[in-house]
């Protein structure tokens, strides 16, 4: 069955997105190949254009680049980095990251909405990275976001779906794809996000810090696939509270 992830009118069969920037460039090609990812993020600030160890030289051409605006502290800087990415031939996809808090690296939702609005107007396929908040997500869709990327837990924390209840709200209420990003520490957590109905998962640190990077990337892909299949198959009924009473509460009804 064909079940593509659709972003900006383009179809992708992989629902696992790989972050870069935390592992060796010489492992990139093998990691991408073995994990069968189709979208790879990259921090434009790491792109050493024309110089040594330029990440752009290590990503196979058929891969869709998702440059991010890391380093931007406000909407204006994010917009400028996005334009720079497009000028450099990275395509129209852009992940908005606006952070001006160096301890937890929490995204600024307000500035992210502003940047999203501007870049959507300029024809970018905008994927904003935010703290999961239903009201913010609705606003992002309103101003033209192609997807919403809520964080599962603080970036790099490998803690998993700490913000599960809030991500569930987005999955239930938001019509654009929900891509769970940041804080996913293990394939089982990625699988769980997909079972809940997330459209895709992005991981970086969990893959980059594994002993065998390409093997871990592949494990993530498999977990994401399994989670997606479970979601489509419809999870069996799980009783949320206690067992149902054997004497029905509605037995008194007549007629």
């Amino acid at each position: 069955m064909k079940d593509p992830l659709v972003l900006g009118g383009r179809e992708f069969s992989s629902r696992f997105l790989l972050g870069t920037g935390k592992f060796s460039l010489d492992q990139m090609a093998d990691t991408i190949k073995r994990s069968e990812v189709e979208i790879v993020t990259l921090a434009l600030r790491r792109a050493n254009l024309g110089g040594d160890s330029n990440i752009l030289d290590y990503i196979p051409k058929q891969i869709t680049l998702l440059p991010n605006t890391s380093g931007a502290r406000n909407a204006e800087e994010a917009v400028r980095i996005a334009r720079l990415a497009r000028e450099l031939g990275c395509g129209d996809f852009i992940k908005i990251e606006v952070i001006h808090e160096s301890k937890y690296l929490m995204p600024d939702n307000f500035e992210t909405i502003r940047a999203t609005e501007q870049l959507a107007k300029e024809g970018f396929v905008v994927l904003p990275y935010v703290s999961p908040d239903l009201i913010v997500a609705r606003e992002l869709v309103q101003v033209g976001a192609a997807a919403v990327m809520p964080l599962a837990a603080p970036i790099g924390s490998n803690k998993g779906l700490v913000s599960k209840d809030f991500i569930k709200m987005l999955i239930a209420e938001i019509d654009v794809p929900i891509i769970v990003d940041a804080g996913i520490g293990a394939p089982s957590q990625a699988c769980e996000a997909m079972e809940l109905g997330a459209d895709a998962v992005l991981a970086n640190t969990a893959v980059a810090t594994a002993r065998d990077v390409p093997a871990m990337a592949r494990a993530f892909q498999q977990a994401v696939r399994a989670g997606r299949q479970a979601y489509l198959a419809g999870l069996g009924r799980v009783l949320e509270y206690s067992g149902e009473a054997s004497s029905p509460l509605t037995g008194f009804l007549e007629g």
């Binding site: 920037g21 592992f23 460039l25 921090a43 600030r45 502290r73 301890k103």
Partner: protein
């Protein structure tokens, strides 16, 4: 003897000193001998270190816990930085100095070769450095507003933009508007080291010159951030005084700075005075490699997100093993005289380096350790 001239003093801008009083207040009554292994174990378990936890990790009791501290530090470093390690090189463009600091090679009373580079010479140095692949540079001068004026430094910074994506400065402390000027010229990162946070000792080792003003120096990072700089470096010259107290103060200085200016990118440097090799009586201030590493690991546990630089003051074998573990930035192809990358050196060095390896050699070392060299991690907008 007049220690600071009136002109120097009048020029110094004063800002709110609350942060300095907090740091110095934390030092009061601090007794490192009082910590036990139990305190160290509790600190190792803590997710967010309190000042007391941090002190425990710096205490003599923690000397026996370097391995578990290293294990924790490595996890924190990896989570935050992965295996990326940034490369940079310092360039001394002048070594004139009006300060009389008893521990420093640039001391104005020392008879050394003084010099400064012309803009043409600076350009040739930049070209030579850029050719090695580096995209980050740290521009240094001694403290002399007449020989290394703000406009001279500004011109050097502006020129650096043609060759480098990241420009840091390690120069004398400035006022907010002066930092703003250099930020507009293209510098985004400022390092100022307090040397010692012991105000009494500070007075004893800074005999004359504007550096005598402890408070003006302490607030340099804040003024830099108020002037629009992106990041600031903090550090103490370990071994000048009680290194545990100085590291403690430097750590809290950094922590409080980030709390007050949440956007600030914070980094540590860990320069140390080497103990005399032939001395048999070990002084309490001696900072041997285990003590140096202990300080670095404690910084990492306190601020998992902070950058940590390892300079060529340390030997290759030490540097190779601390990158990826706790250090996030390493210098390469270093000369500490004035110029010397392309031109003949025009002035003597501030200190002798222990690791003369080239950029290529440092790259190879990083790769052989499974680390990823990063030349640029910044977009100037």
């Amino acid at each position: 003897m007049q220690r600071i001239t009136k002109a120097d003093f009048d020029h110094m801008q004063r800002i709110d000193e609350e942060l300095m009083h907090r740091v110095l207040g934390e030092l009061e009554g601090l007794d490192f001998a009082s910590f036990t292994s139990r305190d160290v174990q509790a600190a190792l378990q803590a997710k967010e270190l309190s000042p007391v936890d941090f002190a425990a990790l710096l205490s003599p009791a923690a000397g026996a816990y370097l391995e578990p501290m290293a294990q924790k530090a490595k996890r924190l470093t990896q989570a935050q930085f992965g295996n990326a390690v940034c490369l940079y090189t310092p360039l001394y463009i002048a070594n004139y100095c009006v300060n009389e600091c008893v521990y420093c090679g640039f001391n104005c009373k020392n008879h050394i070769h003084r010099g400064k580079l012309s803009m043409d010479e600076i350009r040739r140095e930049y070209e030579a450095i850029a050719k090695t692949g580096l995209r980050e540079i740290l521009i240094l001068t001694g403290e002399s507003r007449s020989q290394s004026s703000l406009s001279y430094i500004g011109e050097a910074v502006s020129l650096a933009k043609e060759y480098f994506s990241t420009i840091g400065i390690e120069i004398y402390p400035l006022n907010v508007d002066e930092y703003a000027f250099l930020q507009q010229q293209g510098a985004d990162f400022v390092s100022v080291y307090q040397e010692t946070y012991d105000t009494h000792l500070y007075d004893q080792v800074h005999l004359s010159g504007p550096k005598c003003d402890f408070s003006y120096r302490f607030h340099a990072q804040e003024r830099a951030l108020l002037g629009g700089m992106r990041g600031v470096g903090v550090g103490a010259l370990l071994g000048l005084g009680d290194f545990r107290r100085d590291a403690f103060a430097a750590g809290l200085h950094a922590k409080f700075l980030q709390q007050k200016y949440p956007h600030a990118e914070i980094s540590f440097s860990v320069p140390r005075m080497r103990p005399y090799i032939n001395r048999t009586d070990h002084g309490p201030n001696d900072v041997h490699e285990p003590q140096l590493l202990q300080v670095m690991l404690a910084y990492r546990c306190l601020l998992p997100f902070a950058g940590l630089n390892i300079s060529t003051r340390e030997r290759a074998g030490f540097r190779d093993n601390v990158v990826g573990l706790v250090a996030t930035k390493i210098s390469a192809g270093v000369k500490t005289g004035v110029g010397g990358h392309e031109e003949q050196e025009k002035g003597d060095a501030q200190f002798e380096i222990s690791d003369p390896r080239s950029v290529r050699e440092i790259r190879e070392m990083l790769q052989s350790r499974g680390l990823q060299e990063v030349f640029t991690d910044y977009i100037r907008l």
